[in-house]
């Protein structure tokens, strides 16, 4: 497998990268971790005229919580940086839970969080986490920066709303309103497989009370599914058997799975139900233990 020809640019500043994208008039593509893009080049599913490699732009590999408690993840922060991060392990449980389940350990050394969200694969794990967390992407273009909620960032399989001359320079998870609780449960047949189905759950809690909830689903629709009704059903309530099963049913109803060699549509819907319930029950029981 051999990619077709392209021009290769390796800018050292974001402005330079934006200028290159602008000049590319839609035929230039950003190369970050490359763990999705390079295989697509090899399979010749993608054949951009120009690749703009941002790996030599300094200062994009960060992740940190700001003073207000929002989590910022830079465009070159690798999956393994997140997996090994002590601040994320302590402060952002949904993302911490998903990190070891993204691709495989070798891919995680190179692939990036932001790149994965931009890739817009409905089977991608990070988009579900970001939607559950009300996260947004910060895009920078010739006219400056804008914030785009991930919910509306991905418009279809492998499509996003970035203009041809914009770069996603960071992902931001807003500060939780209470205590951040969360889980990511994924059914995969083996390490590195795409999800048969997966569920991201993010709750902001005060004691037993759910102040804010987000639930999003991987691999059960043309894009990542925001199970907003399921999440809303939890807001303002406690996690008990009734609220958990109601949310799980609503999440399953929100899924739009298709039958394929990973499983039937009805099975995937059932897994969404089961995993939503298991995620919420897990949070509830760890609350009880803590109490």
């Amino acid at each position: 497998m051999y990619p077709s020809r392209f021009n290769y640019e390796s800018p050292s500043t974001i402005d330079e990268a934006i200028a290159l994208l602008d000049a590319g008039r839609g035929e230039a593509k950003i190369l970050a971790g490359g763990q999705s893009l390079v295989p697509m080049l090899k399979l010749r599913f993608a054949a951009p005229e120009t690749l703009v490699d941002i790996n030599n732009i300094p200062g994009l590999g960060y992740h940190h919580f700001d003073e207000g408690g929002a989590l910022h993840i830079g465009a070159l922060c690798r999956h393994e940086d997140i997996e090994k991060s002590t601040v994320i392990a302590e402060g952002q449980p949904t993302i911490a839970a998903a990190a070891p389940l993204v691709a495989d350990p070798i891919v995680r050394t190179r692939g990036t969080f932001v790149g994965s969200v931009c890739h817009g694969d409905p089977q991608g794990d990070w988009a579900a986490c970001m939607i559950a967390l009300d996260g947004f992407i910060v895009a920078q273009g010739p006219n400056g920066r804008r914030e785009i909620p991930v919910e509306s960032f991905v418009t279809g399989p492998f499509q996003n709303v970035l203009a041809h001359n914009e770069i996603a320079i960071e992902a931001v998870v807003p500060a939780p309103r209470g205590e951040a609780r969360g889980a990511y449960l994924k059914l995969e047949r083996r390490v590195g497989d795409f999800a048969t189905a997966a569920v991201a759950v993010a709750l902001d809690m005060s004691g037993d009370m759910v102040l804010r909830a987000g639930i999003a689903l991987t691999g059960v629709g043309g894009t990542t599914v925001n199970a907003a009704e399921a999440a809303d059903s939890l807001t303002g309530s406690t996690l008990d058997a009734d609220s958990v099963s109601r949310a799980a049913e609503l999440a399953a109803a929100a899924a739009q799975p298709r039958s394929d060699h990973r499983g039937s549509a009805s099975y995937k819907r059932h897994i969404v139900n089961t995993f939503t319930a298991r995620a919420l029950s897990g949070i509830a029981s760890s609350n009880e233990r803590a109490a």
Partner: protein, 794 residues
């Protein structure tokens, strides 16, 4: 002084592998590592459609790309009479399509260029105009009266049938069923799988016009068969063909057949007078080369109330894809399928088999098994479990009641095979003891009360390994013997060559151990070479676990020939008559004076410096071994599992393997073979399969969709052994490479079925995806792996 055989790396030594010295340094020499001066690179354009007429091929844009040297299409192959080639099963297969494409991935054109990137660019520039035709993706569709004729290129082929075949005694079996107290039935699908060695196929053809010699480096498990095939297909003189099979990155049966890519690269080298390298990509390997399985099996068992099996009936429908290219050497159309039930004492049996063409990739059908033995043993052990359940008998006891007894060998099976030896009951006992059978049944009962689903699955089987004997096994008429050539040098060091071809089995290590055992020459003093037809004696290659049973036997026999000559030399050196010379490992001595002796090294020195009058100098010989029978190893595999009733996910708790492969030459290597086989068994049971959509698109064309398990999912294995030496093999060894792949899958499936049978489930087809198991648990009914068929199908 007596030599310690283990110390010199003889039989029974877990000698560390000599081939590892290069592999761990990255100094293996695989075909893609070979670089020849002036070498060009070839890429193949494959059909995106499963069935279509080719209206036209326009390669003009490809020719215009700088660096392109040659573009080949079917029409150009046809001018050389190379558009089609014979298969190893007496069918024909398209090399490059001329009239139609008959499966997705079929070879349509090839580009030869300065580098592979350019060749790929040029492939993309070729425009093929296809007229789509109705597609057939399973054999039942192929049987329909309205089905389109796939092989309209053949004369006398009125339908899509490849063969009808039967074996056994129909009347006797009918009588057995008439007398039965209980008749147990089972129907299942063994899905299509792919051997998928990590290294794909490839070749470098190098035709030298000045000498007329064609040298081909090739990923082949059987270089001499390839040489014969090239001589026949390309009409080149056989002495002008040299096939070199370098290090192979796994084979598993995938590298036995002759593939179009090899043939095209040969013609390309002849035309360009440059070496031409073709390295297949992973997708090409998965969608076009020899697959395994894809058989529908149904059968029934006639049972007496006391648990004795009276008779077995089986019917199989096999899907051969677009060309019948089984690389199996038996005279039996469905391979050794009728080795089923060989470990059980069954009075009568009958098997009918139908093979069909479909619009899918053609086969090799061997995937780490001896020609359909995998399907046979899987059906056998699934059927046995179903029968035990129907009788309400313990599954271990049912097996024990029906096993062939230790004193009943050689045993003629109901299908006519002659099994050689075994201690079946003992193997089962070792396995049950190791797993803690009685305790597990209690734990299972307790767990079930709490809603947990535990299961235990047993699979016991003997299988025929080591094709062949030459009466019943040949490829293109070539008998299935094998060979070894041993040259002992003056200083007692030696080089051994065989007609087999290692692909990871460790021949370079174990063959030397056999010589060490026979001659007392330290294994480290023997170098082993295979794979070069100019230097190796003629042999049939490595597959069907035949290396040790056949080539290994030849190694022992050639060593004995050397020893016989050395004995004469020893008598000469010791100045006694040959009758007065005794042998112990590594040394001849005078019977009446044990202190007076000469070593094998003394004899080799004398062979070149001091031979008796009238004796030819030298200490070299060749042996060809035609085995009297197949070898019949036995295995007992027991798995325990827990099924999550909510998700259908099942986990292996323990996996115990008891293998009786006769005498073990290198126990470490034998255990490695078993663990590798068990992993492929687990893979097939859990995740690994290739399916097709109704349009014939292959689902499983890369490792994102065709799943091989990683270290994380693969369970741990607990290995045990029983040794029953093979009575007809010179060193008592039997085949082992494929036992676990063959016997393993049923252990996993039986375990999951055991966990859910109380819910009314009798069968879930492989792979037991969580979805399928969940469906079985929630509906209490069987789950078939029958591929989806469009209702408006042709």
């Amino acid at each position: 002084m007596t030599i310690d055989e283990i110390k010199i790396g003889g039989m029974g030594a877990s000698r560390r592998r000599v081939e590892d010295n290069r592999f761990i340094r990255g100094r293996g020499n695989y075909v893609d590592d070979v670089v020849l001066p002036g070498m060009l690179h070839m890429e193949i354009l494959r059909s995106p459609l499963a069935h279509a007429r080719i209206r036209s091929i326009d390669a003009s844009k490809a020719w215009e790309i700088p660096g392109v040297r040659l573009v080949l299409t079917g029409d150009m192959m046809a001018t050389r009479n190379l558009a089609w080639m014979p298969t190893l099963s007496y069918d024909t297969q398209a090399v490059l399509a001329t009239d139609k494409v008959r499966f997705q991935g079929q070879e349509v054109a090839a580009v030869i260029a300065d580098d592979p990137y350019i060749a790929k660019d040029a492939c993309e520039a070729i425009v093929v105009d296809y007229e789509p035709l109705p597609v057939i993706v399973n054999p039942m569709q192929a049987m329909a009266d309205s089905a389109p004729l796939i092989r309209d290129d053949k004369e006398n082929q009125p339908d899509n049938k490849v063969f009808d075949w039967e074996v056994g005694d129909r009347e006797a079996t009918e009588r057995a069923f008439a007398e039965a107290d209980v008749v147990s039935k089972l129907e299942l699908h063994y899905p299509r799988s792919h051997p998928s060695p990590l290294e794909p196929c490839g070749s470098i053809a190098d035709f030298d016009r000045s000498t007329g010699k064609l040298t081909v480096y090739m990923t082949t498990q059987a270089p001499h068969i390839i040489r014969a095939a090239v001589a026949l297909v390309a009409e080149l003189p056989e002495h002008m063909i040299r096939i070199i099979s370098p290090d192979l990155g796994g084979g598993f049966g995938n590298k036995v057949p002759v593939y179009p890519g090899y043939v095209i690269s040969i013609l390309a080298s002849i035309l360009t007078e440059r070496p031409v390298k073709w390295i297949e990509d992973k997708t090409g390997n998965l969608i076009s080369t020899g697959f395994g399985r894809d058989v529908y099996l149904q059968g029934e068992m006639a049972l007496r109330k006391d648990g004795r099996i009276l008779g077995v009936r089986m019917h199989t429908i096999s899907d051969h894809g677009a060309f019948f290219s089984d690389a199996q050497p038996s005279k039996f159309k469905i391979g050794l399928m009728h080795s089923a039930f060989a470990c059980y004492d069954i009075p009568s049996a009958h098997l009918t088999a139908t093979g069909m063409y479909t619009n899918k990739a053609p086969g090799g059908v061997a995937y780490r098994c001896s020609f359909r033995v995998t399907e046979a043993m899987f059906f056998q052990e699934r059927m046995v479990q179903a029968a035990a359940d129907d009788l309400g008998m313990d599954q271990a006891e049912f097996r024990r009641v029906n096993f062939v007894r230790d004193d009943d060998f050689p045993h003629r099976t109901a299908f006519g095979f002659l099994t050689d030896s075994g201690q079946y009951g003992k193997c089962l006992d070792v396995g049950l003891e190791a797993i803690g059978y009685e305790q597990f049944l209690k734990d299972q009962e307790e767990a079930r009360k709490k809603g947990r689903l535990l299961g235990i699955g047993i699979s016991t089987m003997t299988e025929p390994l080591g094709a062949g004997n030459s009466r019943e096994y040949d490829i293109l008429g070539i008998k299935m013997f094998d060979s070894a050539e041993l040259r002992v040098h003056m200083t007692g060091k030696a080089i051994l060559r065989t007609g087999a071809k290692t692909q990871g089995q460790g021949h370079e290590t174990t063959w030397a151990q056999i010589v060490a055992h026979e001659l007392g020459i330290p294994a480290d003093d023997i170098v082993v070479e295979e794979g070069d037809t100019d230097t190796a004696p003629f042999g049939m290659g490595t597959y069907a676990s035949r290396s040790t049973p056949v080539a290994g036997a030849a190694v022992a026999m050639v060593s004995r020939k050397i020893r016989a000559k050395a004995r004469k030399i020893a008598a000469h050196l010791l100045e006694v008559s040959e009758e007065d010379v005794e042998w112990e490992l590594g040394r001849f001595y005078v019977r009446s004076q044990p202190d007076r002796g000469v070593t094998i090294q003394d004899c080799s020195m004398a062979a070149y410096s001091n031979v008796p009058d009238g004796m030819e100098p030298g200490l070299e010989n060749t042996a060809y071994y035609d085995p009297p029978n197949l070898t019949w190893p036995f295995a007992c595999y027991i798995a325990t599992v827990e099924v999550d009733p909510v998700t259908g996910v099942w986990d292996v708790l323990r996996m115990v393997a008891v293998d009786d492969c006769g005498v073990r030459i290198n126990p470490m290597i034998v255990e490695g073979q078993i663990m590798g086989g068990l992993t492929e068994a687990y893979a097939m049971a859990s995740m690994q399969f290739i399916t097709f959509d109704a349009d014939g698109n292959c689902v499983g064309s890369n490792y994102m969709d065709y799943l091989l398990p990683t270290a994380w999912e693969t369970p741990g294995f607990e290995l045990h052994e029983v040794v029953t030496p093979c009575p007809h093999h010179p060193i008592g060894a039997k085949g082992i490479g494929e036992c676990a792949t063959v016997g393993g899958p049923a252990a996993f499936v039986n375990a999951v079925m055991d966990a859910v049978k109380h819910l009314g489930v009798r069968n879930v087809d492989m792979p037991m995806l969580p979805d399928r198991v969940h469906q079985a648990v929630t509906t209490g009914s069987d789950v078939s792996g029958m591929p989806p068929v469009r209702t408006d199908a042709p």
